[in-house]
Amino acid sequence: MTEPQTPKQPQPAAFHYQALCGLSLALIFLAQLNQGELPLNVLCVLIGTLCLLSRLKLGPILLLVMIGGVQWWIQFRMFRGPAQRARALEIVDVVLCAGVVGFVAAHYRLQSIWQNMLPLDPRRRSGTPRRRFPWFRKQPPIMAEKRAQEQITPFELAGLVLSLPAWAVAAQILWALLPKQVEFIGLPPRVLQMIVVAWGLAVGFLVMRGVFSLWRFRQADAATAQLILQDALWKETRGEQRRIQRWLAWWKWEKRERGE
């Protein structure tokens, strides 16, 4: 008796991330087209497509730079110089942000499949030795740990797509929190905004670091806790400990030399 054959489910592959990149580029194109800029917009999408097809590692950063250039040009064309304007929640901005985040995330996930997922370890080498430069010695190439296409799941794709609007809304919230048209001790608003962003990031990092450190200390096992305490003691008394231990080491050698 033959077993009934279940229809094989189509597995997501790298193609799906490429499609997501293409879709994100389309969103970017539409959003910027709405702002009334065609030639630079087309150039931006073309560069994005080229980065995708050529598997360029710097592709996402290049696209971000291009979008920055386009937006600066639109701003310059509208206001003839840097100008601040108050913005409410605009659907075009949300679409643009979602498109950019989608492209960046999908492209980096593709890089994990095409290039390497984990940092390269120079100790792990395999293959025929070759020179990177004529004056370098021959070495086998470093093994790159890539992610297999079969490991892509529908959930991660769906999760990424569904979370895109959330990041766009988060950007809007951050923008709303940023002080605008406010002067403080004679600083122009732009400088003040940069200071606020820098301080926000620094404080945020410190708080998160503190929280995770506390969490780690609470989770530590007995040996790790002993190591932490030992290190704390050593930090406080290393001068005294060093002096005592050196004296003991010297005394040991002297004793041996005297033949005692």
Binding site: Q35, Q71, T224
Partner: protein, 635 residues
Amino acid sequence: MLTLRGWWFFVALLGLLAAALATATATFVLVCFAVLSWFLGQWALFAFRLRRAHGRLGIHREIWDDRTPLETLWARLPAEVRLTLESPVAFPYVWMVDRVPPLAQRVEGENATAGPLSAEQPLELGYRIECPAPGLLRFEGVKLQVADLQGFFSKTLFVRDVRVVRVLPALADARGQIPAVKRHNLIPLPGGHPHRRAGTGHELLDVRDYLPGDPPKLIAWKASARRDRLMTKELESEVPVRCTMFVDLSNSVRIGAVGRNALARIVEITASVLQANAAVRDLTGVCLFDEAQVKAYLRPGRGTRHLYEITNLLTDSACLLPRTDDVPLSRLLPTAYGVVQDLYPDWLDPGVNFMPLWLPFWAAQPAYTMPRRITPAKHWWSRSLHWLWRRLNDTPFGLRRGRASRFTAYYHRLYKARKQIAAVLAVLYDLGPGGLALLLEDDETCRGYVQRFLAEHQVPCPLPFYDDRGEYFFGSPGKIDVLAGALLQAVYRGRDNELFVLMADFLETGPHLEKLLRAVRVALARHHQVLVVCPWPPSVPMPQRKKIVGTLRVPSNSKSALRVPAEDDGIRSEPTTLQDWLGRASAARLHHAFAKVRQEFARMGVPVVLSAEHEAVGMVLHRLQRLRTLERGLR
């Protein structure tokens, strides 16, 4: 935690955000905020998952043969390692590699795998190993590298799960063939006569003509009726043959990789002789000794329990690594640091094991605590000058090599490695609050603990073999006295003619053999037999022998085994490099030492064989056979 890719992206993003804010490009600021919030969100999620998974990752390891899970392995028989990594926290990508113990060789499958990990989807791994020699197989655990889907964040973890599995010696017969059907047989087969001398046992040895005086109860009536004359049954002697093996565990035989050194070969020979003797119900004892003392002595005995007791003893001793006080600490630290990086990556984190960058410049090790050669004054009148010179050298004004080394990057790396290793070892070996400073300042203590740490993890460290004057570090003449004492004790305890097999390295002991030779003479005077098996380094070609040692008759087909083909010698006709010259010189020196040892023992009629020879086991058994058939009962 941030990878190179993550750093580049984060820095570029901050730069673009700054540019957007500077040019007041509102839309692009929004775009940068969106990307930045996504990046920071991924970072927080990754850190959260790592913290949540801390201490909750578990591995389940099983070792299987073809059918069942195993608790002990056999050398030269393949086994499959099955590993499952379980985690209650989901990770999108985990790369897992199992650390194959040094004793084992991976013969099939990969010891690494990668993929997503979650409570419903554990990560599984399977590969086949084979151990070429007996010993202890130490599985440390698995190394994990966790990453996010974009490759921005990565963290190396190690899930410690130490499991030590005993690898018993291969059950081989005298010719070194592994039996396929029945592993061992402690009861002699019907018709076989392990004791060929007539005696008062129960097994029939022969039927012969009746002689006046023979007991009537031994008359073979059926045979007498057939031949029409009186025949008498002859029974075999049941006095067993005893054999005591003296196994050298000193540093000189431990040199080399685990399972591929002279000690592994000695253990293999001992186990083979033990099994062969057990098959014919002979008694075998073992004496393990090193340069300091007799480690263990088991009197000749038989039975399953005795067999396993000796086998376990040999197995536990087979993986010992050499240890010396003469190795500079700077040679040990890089190896130890690599092991700590692999096995205790979380203990090198600056949050728990901090190392100030400026400390090596400020608190470099002073000259007066460094190990130095003690050279006493040659004359009585120069003692004060000698003392003054030493004190001057110890001051900061003294001129000596390496005075400015504290400013080099090498010294800085070494100091950092030492501090972090010292902290880890102080916790591992429970040295107390001052243990860290002790290991940081006292070279001798630190060297001892680092060697112990490496030996426990079965990692061989690079050792020097000779000092500045060309003297061998591992000659250890002390073991001669220990062996001589043990041999005399065995002779004193011996009940009957025994075979004493001395498996010890005498090649580098120099002129210290006299005490042992005296003990051997005592043994020979008591009608015991002595055989010397000399451990031989596997990488050095064996000396070519034109004649067979002693009076042993070796089967003709073994002649080829004693001769080493020229292409296997490792010595080319014309050495071209310095390494070739050194290899040839040290091989010639060992050959000369072996010839000298053989000559010393040959004067007393004691044969000397090399452990690397394939016939070493056969020669021991041949000597036992001769003891059984020819010299039974002569005292």
